[in-house]
């Protein structure tokens, strides 16, 4: 087995929640898993299962309470913002709501140029061309660079968001319900794009979703989460064919029922 | 648990407020003894003055004496008024007056804003709405003390309906207090009513567009039922909240208006104290206002908790 790109050990994330006894919500509760380079790991579970929290903690957007995060063997669990900055490039994110993942006051072109400028990845004179190329890579015309987020559709923005994540040539992308807010007829476009991008660049991806169909389509491995705990993890078809956990079975049951009825409508 | 925590926070705030009030005043330039007695005052008189007002103690001890006295309602003696009258006595005599005027203004503002806000929301987009909204903006644009004078000019001097000056204590005569307090309360209430009615209008419109209102209409409930039980009731939450937030502005208005109308309340006492640099009086007044605001906030929070089940237990 290859060395893991990212390894997570006994990760615990807590939030303050005055409504709960003890005043603490344990959103991620002792999760351990590894992500190999170039694999797509599906993180499935229902709302409140902690999958988004886990995804954002991997990126150190949240501070883990316990446990360890290793990026290519390097412990990044408690690096501060400055210490983290050199490693930020390696890990990017695509968010659920494409509109709110762009600053409404900046054009899409500016949004794509910032990381390039910040990490000095290209000469100022090449910036425009480089942004245009990034847009084209995700299937957008270069003239979208001058648009403001509210002037674009959800699908277009999500393409731009993927393009922005790719500018830094990351090794890992966390995609958090990246298609669930999109129109049904546009979802397939983005799923195809993600798959194509992964195939082309060989990056690893954590794909967070509640849609089992989508997870099964895209992911190499599946991790099932429930109430902050990791219930099971395994190659996609293993999990789908031979679920180990009762909860996984119940979850998959909804899928099978739907499929069955779709084939033989009442 | 929550209640005791709340009480602790409240007490801490009062204590911190007392410290701010006390030490800020101590930092003010000038010796209170000399400013009260004059710079050429004889040393033994100055010494006696300092002893009387505890000024001979170290500052920390002065504060301890002051705060422990304050807890018992003893705020020391006035430096200027009637040759050193106990400040606690002054405050006790005037607090009910300020409370009455403040409450009166609050009720007036509440009644006016409920009418204006509701009418504007229900007639949204029409000329009536524009009229009501304009009145609201105009109301918040008039300095309250100026409005007080204009009201006196028209409603007390030209049309002798209300008394032009002074105040009847409600303990002497409640109708008299209501009558003599009307113009000052109205002058304070006008800008408040403007703010309140805008908030109520916005809140009503906001609640009207909530899905549960649509659900209730889809069940065929009558519009008056939906308005009273759901729209108006739920709009009261932000409305009451804003009233709580605005109480501090309202009390600010009370200070000026009391002076303008010669109402013997805490506000005019504080202004007199400010003129005379009467530190004990100013400290006590500021602290009293602090306690009033905190008390009102507590009341508003309790009321909000009654109105909004989600806010309970917080």
């Amino acid at each position: 087995m290859r060395d893991p790109l990212l390894s997570i050990e006994d990760l615990v994330v807590e939030f303050r929640d005055p409504h709960r006894p003890g005043g603490v919500l344990r959103a991620v509760d002792g999760v351990s898993l590894t992500i190999a380079p170039g694999e797509i790991l599906g993180l499935v579970g229902e709302s409140g299962s902690g999958k988004t929290t886990l995804g954002k903690t991997i990126l150190r957007l949240y501070e883990p309470r316990e446990g360890r995060l290793r990026l290519k063997g390097l412990d990044i669990t408690h690096l501060d913002e400055a210490g983290l900055r050199p490693h930020r490039r390696a890990m990017q994110m695509v968010f659920q709501d494409p509109l709110s993942s762009f600053n409404p006051r900046h054009t899409v072109g500016e949004a794509l140029a910032v990381p390039l400028r910040l990490h000095r990845l290209c000469a100022p004179s090449d910036l425009a061309a480089r942004v245009a190329r990034s847009l084209e890579e995700v299937g957008l015309r270069p003239d979208f660079a001058d648009r403001y987020p509210h002037q674009m559709s959800g699908g277009q923005l999500q393409r731009a968001a993927i393009g922005r994540a790719l500018t830094l040539s990351p090794e890992l992308i966390v995609a958090d319900e990246a298609v669930s807010k999109l129109d049904v007829s546009v979802r397939a476009q983005i799923l195809n794009l993600l798959r194509a991008v992964q195939a082309r660049t060989g990056l690893a991806m954590v794909f967070i979703t509640h849609d089992l169909h989508v997870a099964r389509f895209l992911c190499h491995r599946i991790a099932v989460m429930h109430f902050g705990k990791l219930l099971e993890i395994g190659p996609t078809e293993d999990v789908f064919q031979h679920p180990q956990h009762d909860y996984t079975r119940a979850l998959l049951g909804t899928l099978h029922a739907r499929e069955a009825r779709a084939r033989t409508p009442s | 648990m929550a209640a005791s925590r709340r009480a602790a926070v409240l007490l801490l705030t009062v204590l911190a407020g007392a410290m701010v009030v006390f030490f800020a005043m101590k930092a003010a330039p000038g010796d209170p003894a000399l400013s009260a007695l004059g710079e050429n005052a004889r040393p033994e008189l100055v010494a006696a003055f300092r002893r009387l007002h505890n000024l001979d103690l170290p500052v920390g001890e002065q504060f301890a004496t002051w705060i422990s006295g304050a807890l018992r309602g003893d705020f020391g003696r006035s430096l200027t008024l009637a040759g050193g009258v106990p400040v606690g006595q002054l405050i006790a005599g005037r607090l009910p007056v300020t409370a009455f005027i403040g409450l009166y203004a609050l009720i007036l503002a509440g009644v006016i804003s409920m009418i204006v806000g509701t009418v504007a929301a229900l007639s949204r987009g029409t000329a009536l709405d524009t009229l009501m909204t304009s009145f609201a903006v105009l109301g918040v644009s008039m300095p309250d003390f100026w409005l007080g004078y204009v009201l006196v000019f028209f409603l007390a001097l030209n049309l002798p309906i209300f008394p032009s000056y002074g105040f009847v204590s409600p303990s002497d005569s409640l109708p008299g207090a209501l009558l003599s307090g009307f113009l000052p309360a109205l002058a304070i209430a006008a800008p408040m009513a403007a703010v309140f009615s805008r908030v109520l209008r916005a809140a009503l419109l906001e609640v009207m567009h909530r899905p549960y209102v649509q659900v209730q209409r889809s069940l065929g409930l009558s519009s008056s039922f939906v308005f009273l039980h759901t729209i108006f009731r739920n709009a009261l939450i932000p409305y009451v909240t804003i009233i709580g937030l605005q109480v501090r502005y309202l009390l600010g208005g009370v200070v000026v208006i009391e002076r303008v109308f010669g109402i013997p309340g805490i506000g005019s006492l504080m202004v007199d104290g400010a003129f005379g640099r009467d530190y004990p009086v100013i400290q006590a007044c500021a602290l009293t206002f602090l306690v009033i605001v905190l008390g009102t906030n507590l009341l508003v929070d309790l009321l909000c908790a009654r109105l909004d089940p989600k806010a309970r237990g917080r």
Partner: protein, 313 residues
């Protein structure tokens, strides 16, 4: 079965914008129509307009609007209001938002029960209703505030309120979209149960063709304010005719089959203020031809099956 609802050429406009551009709906008693469409296709607005629940600024027109042999288009609001709840009812997408957060569940049920004209103690009736929609410990639930219950529970409670009113037509607007998979499955089961228990007609709005497949007798697919295809569920799933319907079903099938790449519908949904002149789908359609720039009428393509497209015509 008798005809419950007949709608011809229903149009909803917001100022100069047409949100619903002339749709026809026929519904029999005991029948369930699945109305499929993406956000902005006008499906929700069309149904809200049937109950006259549209927000200010939206105008409804229809050539024919007949409910139970009554022309309800011309009814004044005073006479229409009693129909809401008792005859036409609606389940909304957001169960949490459907409840007045300041009132207990008991208050909501009491209100519904009173509206149903029920005599006698409301409490027993409420417990009975909650029990009927599968809510455990109904007595405790009556004392709860909405925020203390899960979305699934609230959706059940809302359904219980509607059951109390025994309406003849129930519009369900994506009632499971905001719910988790397992709960969604349970609510769908509850709807199927209701279909058996109540002799009501259902209009079930969804964007998920799989959900429609489970629950609907007939399906109508909406795109850009129009119904582009309608027919019996089995026919539509087995042999979709409109390119848009075909695209949706192909995508769903490809996902389920874990194909290498998904069948895409290229392009974006048209904006309301930039609708193409003829077929709304033409700009995204691989088979579009010049004639598509003309408005297309619904064409019958099979028994009870019609579509709005030049293909195969």
């Amino acid at each position: 079965m008798s005809r419950l609802l007949e709608v011809r050429n229903l149009r909803v406009t917001a100022g100069p914008l047409a949100v619903v551009r002339g749709i026809d709906i026929d519904l029999d008693e005991g029948e369930t129509l699945g109305l499929i469409g993406e956000s902005g296709s006008g499906k929700t607005v069309a149904c809200l307009s049937l109950l006259r629940l549209l927000p200010d600024g939206l105008r409804t027109e229809a050539d024919v609007l007949i409910y139970k042999d009554r022309d309800i288009a011309s009814l004044p609001e005073r006479e229409f209001r009693p129909l809401r709840g008792r005859e036409l009812a609606m389940v909304f997408q957001d169960p949490v938002g459907s409840f007045n957060p300041a009132k207990r569940i008991g208050w909501h049920l009491r209100t519904a029960i009173a509206r149903a004209g029920h005599d006698g103690p409301w409490r027993e009736r409420a417990l009975e209703l909650l029990d009927g929609v599968g809510i455990p410990q109904p007595a405790a639930v009556l004392e709860r505030y909405p925020h203390q219950l899960s979305g699934g529970m609230l959706q059940r409670a809302l359904i219980a309120m509607i059951v109390a009113l025994k309406p003849s037509l129930i519009v369900a607007d994506e009632p499971t979209t905001n719910l988790d998979n397992i709960v969604e499955e349970q609510i769908l089961a509850l709807f199927r149960d209701l279909q058996k228990r109540l002799a009501a007609g259902f209009i079930f709005i969804t964007h998920d063709i799989g959900v429609a497949a489970q629950i609907a007798d007939r399906i109508a697919v909406m795109y850009a304010g129009q119904i582009v295809e309608t027919g019996p569920t089995a026919d539509i799933l087995a042999a979709p005719r409109h390119p848009y319907t075909r695209g949706l079903i192909a995508t769903a099938n490809a996902l389920a089959a874990r194909a290498e790449t998904l069948a895409e519908i290229p392009g974006q949904l048209p904006a309301l203020d930039a609708l193409p002149p003829g077929c709304g789908f033409a700009p995204r359609c691989a088979q579009a031809r010049p004639a598509c720039a003309q408005p297309q009428p619904m064409r019958p393509v099979g028994p009870g099956h019609a579509m709005r497209c030049l293909l195969d015509a």
